[in-house]
């Protein structure tokens, strides 16, 4: 599922620091993650889990440090699933999945298969505004399946999901790892079987950003 070349994929993070405004969220973060591994990010609200995921996704610039993906093809294609589901209220569920299929250059078969996999096959004609929070999250999950990409960055992927939905996410993550993919996820509560864990609170210094007169 994770595409060719994924098995040699390595993520290296060196001395990473993130700041929001004048506040340092974490610093001195170094880690190495190989293909097939999963990393759970833990820590209290505001400890920088989402920020770390956004840095890894290339959305936010780190305050200091280096993020390097190597061996996973050109630039290690990533999927970033934030806490917002990117669901449009006026488009039907199926239309949105098909849009992402076209966006990633896949055929609409991939969208239909993904909709079925996340349990939305019988909700395909419902517009986004008619979906429950859990169904919106399931719709967001279809992006992971429509375009197989080696790196998954998931921000609390099980938020709003029911028991069956959580089992689905665990299964998707297990399948992804089995095919050589890499998963980094912010989680509260139950994590994923056999994954490593990183507590961001342990990296928090609480000191103001150097050079700032806070």
């Amino acid at each position: 599922m994770a595409g060719e070349g994924a098995s040699s994929l390595v993520l290296e993070v060196e001395n990473l620091a993130a700041a929001r405004g004048l506040r340092v969220l974490f610093e001195g973060l170094s880690l190495k993650l190989s293909a097939g591994e999963a990393l759970e990010l833990r820590g209290a609200n505001g400890s920088g889990k989402s920020t770390l995921l956004r840095i890894l996704a290339g959305l936010t610039r780190p305050h200091a440090g280096i993020v390097r993906f190597s061996g996973g093809g050109e630039d290690a294609p990533r999927h970033y699933l934030g806490h917002l589901d990117a669901v449009k209220p006026s488009e039907s569920a199926a239309e949105q999945a098909e849009f992402w299929a076209r966006y990633f250059g896949r055929d609409t078969q991939a969208a239909a298969a993904a909709m079925k996999r996340v349990g939305l096959a019988n909700r395909s004609s419902v517009p986004g505004r008619g979906l429950s929070a859990g169904q919106k999250r399931r719709l967001a999950l279809t992006r992971l399946l429509i375009d197989p990409r080696p790196v998954w960055l998931l921000d609390e992927p099980t938020a709003a999901l029911d028991t069956e939905g959580r089992a689905l996410v665990s299964q998707l993550v297990a399948d992804h790892r089995a095919s050589g993919g890499m998963v980094i996820a912010a989680v509260h509560g139950d994590g994923f079987a056999g994954s490593r864990s990183l507590d961001l609170a342990s990296l928090k210094t609480g000191a103001p950003k150097s050079g700032a007169n806070a």
Binding site: R54, G58, L59, T60, A86, R102, F104, G105, R143
Partner: protein, 221 residues
Amino acid sequence: MSGSFSVFARELKLAWSGGGGAALPVGFFAASASMTPFAVGSETVALQTAGPGVMWIALALSSLLPMERLFQADLEDGTLDAYAGSGIGMEGIALAKTLAHWIATGIPLAVVAPVLWIMLQGPVEATGLVVLASLIGTLAFFFFGSIGAALAAGMRRGGLLIALVTLPLYVPTMIFGAAALAAAADGADWVGPLLLTVSAALFGVATSPFGAAMALRTAID
């Protein structure tokens, strides 16, 4: 490339299906131009003098109206994160979205422009030019506007910022466009001013996706 094109197609569909995205700007445009005779008086000479200028002011302000929502909805619902997180360039996204909104709103503005032109006592022979100039003008307005739209996307009530940033960029297009229509109304040569309007539009189309992309990357940072 499939990414930008699919975004373009989606935006076009959303703009039409989402409750008539063009209705407000077109209504605003029609209302402001059709109220002019009440304000400046209905004498033909007065209307013919004011007509081209009024048309272009109304066109510029109407083009500004849809700008506030151009990127805001995508930023708020996480779509912009999903686009950026999948490694497709923001420039392509900005270009696709702006072009789609110009087709959905700018073209309807150009279509109603001749009606207002006649209402302002403009010569009937010039209606073809009015449509052409309005198409070019709205293209410039939408693309220059996309820079302001991207800058204000992350702000609550960013409309004022959009107006402040964008209106100075509208000025050259407005001068050349109004000059072309005034020349046509006088029976003078309008090709020169029209070509200058085209060059302003081309400059906007070529440069603004880069400016908008920079602002959007900051907005999601």
